[in-house]
């Protein structure tokens, strides 16, 4: 259980950032994961009052503040309709209703959890991540970048485009982390992301390249699915073996591609 001496709710992200960089401090989003860690810090910085709980529709994109809870993807009229309910469907199976009412967009993306379903889904959408100090990243660059210093995730921006999407996962119990998850989107290009490897989600660039300019048919899909399972690295963890992940990856990619065909 995490221990600290002071609990502060800064009114602005600037104040939060100053605290974060001058003290032995941590940001609290929902706090759900943070609280499980066995650390001792001085200050807990709760962003709840820092005006980061916004959802704005601006032209062809949607801005989502880092303190927006995951349940908003189900309940907010803008978010729940985004990409025909794609993110709603993904969120609805994350953990539980009660937990979705507290866990946040920032707390999900910033630590780059490998098991996250939402990260995998966002990877195949035109998504940008805004950090207070380090600025703007595409979500795929954000996941690949090791930040030099602590930062605060301010918001994400999702562009609305005309994409077909699919999300697939495999779990043993429905109420569990995904052993593996796959997201696919198709507009002019096809994007394929694989998460729960168990390391953090990544795009299958080689396969995406292979599909460039091709029309999807069952033959090609089969080949592409196999390719993804060859190109993405997998590992063992408590939930499953590397070999199983690899096999299932092929099946899930195939299903996802068939859905967007």
């Amino acid at each position: 259980m995490i221990k600290f001496k002071e609990y502060i709710k800064p009114k602005t992200i600037e104040d939060a950032y100053n605290l974060l960089t001058t003290k032995n401090a941590e940001i609290i989003g929902g706090g759900a994961f943070l609280r499980l860690s066995n650390r001792k810090i001085d200050v807990a910085i709760d962003l709840i009052d820092a005006n980061l709980n916004f959802i704005n529709e601006i032209n062809d994109s949607v801005e989502i503040g880092s303190m927006v809870t995951i349940s908003e993807f189900e309940e907010n009229p803008v978010l729940s309709k985004l990409y025909n309910g794609f993110l709603k469907n993904v969120s609805e199976t994350v953990l539980s209703f009660q937990m979705r009412n507290i866990i946040t967009v920032g707390g999900t993306l910033y630590p780059k959890y490998g098991f996250s379903d939402l990260i995998t889904a966002l990877l195949v959408l035109p998504t940008e991540v805004y950090l207070y100090k380090s600025g703007k990243f595409s979500v795929e660059d954000f996941l690949k970048t090791r930040l030099e210093h602590k930062d605060i995730l301010a918001k994400i921006v999702i562009k609305k485009e005309n994409l077909k999407t699919s999300f697939q996962y495999i779990r043993n119990s429905e109420y569990d982390f995904s052993i593996l998850n796959v997201a696919v989107s198709k507009g002019n290009e096809v994007k394929i992301a694989v998460g729960g490897r168990p390391a953090v989600a990544q795009l299958a660039y080689k396969t995406m390249q292979f599909l460039h300019g091709k029309d999807l048919n069952e033959e090609i899909i089969k080949e592409a699915a196999k390719m993804v399972s060859e190109e993405i690295p997998f590992a063992d963890d408590i939930k499953a073996s590397k070999e199983y992940r690899k096999k299932v990856c092929e099946a899930l990619v195939k299903r996802a591609l068939l859905e967007v065909m």
Binding site: M1, I2, K3, F4, K5, E6, Y7, K9, I28, G30, G31, A32, R35, L36, A44, D46, I48, S71, E92, T93, L95, S96, F97, Q98, M99, N101, I102, E174, Y175
Partner: protein, 148 residues
């Protein structure tokens, strides 16, 4: 530190440590219906309403709820009706999980959810080891007026 919280419609000033967990504070102040079943956010037994929405009180720092409103099963008038239906169905066993389940289900009534599949999705975070869920579903269907 001190926090001001409205609990079950009563204004309270509570003395807490900065890293206290809401669940522990509620129990310390005598709200015994709030219980710890797992401590990792998985079981839903500690569910309370925070500003009207179900949340796991084991996963929230008490300091966060300063200035907010908490409702436990003791403060939910609709809880009695659901409790009666659960009892009549014989859907209750040890009762340890019941307050959390009731808090969440009463909230679903407000959402006017009528499909059993949706009910199950929304209640997935309320684990129960005794009943096997089946009786709970029979009772909850009645309470929510689920369409068959």
């Amino acid at each position: 530190m001190k926090i001001n919280v409205t609990i079950n419609n009563e204004k309270k000033e509570l003395e807490i440590a900065p890293d206290d967990i809401l669940l522990d504070v509620l129990r310390r102040y005598g709200y015994h219906s709030v219980r710890r079943g797992c401590d990792t956010g998985m079981c839903g037994i500690c569910t309370v309403l925070l500003d009207g929405k179900p949340v796991p009180s084991c996963s929230i720092f008490a300091a966060r709820v300063d200035g907010h409103e908490i409702t436990t099963v003791e403060g939910l008038p609709e809880a009695k009706e659901l409790a009666k239906i659960l009892a009549e169905e014989g859907a209750d066993q040890c009762g340890f999980c019941s307050p959390g389940l009731i808090v969440n289900t009463v909230y679903l009534k407000k959402l006017k959810i009528k499909k059993i599949e949706e009910v199950k999705i929304k209640l997935i975070g309320n684990l129960c080891r005794c009943t096997g869920y089946v009786g709970q579903h029979r009772a909850i269907e009645k309470f929510l007026g689920v369409e068959k």
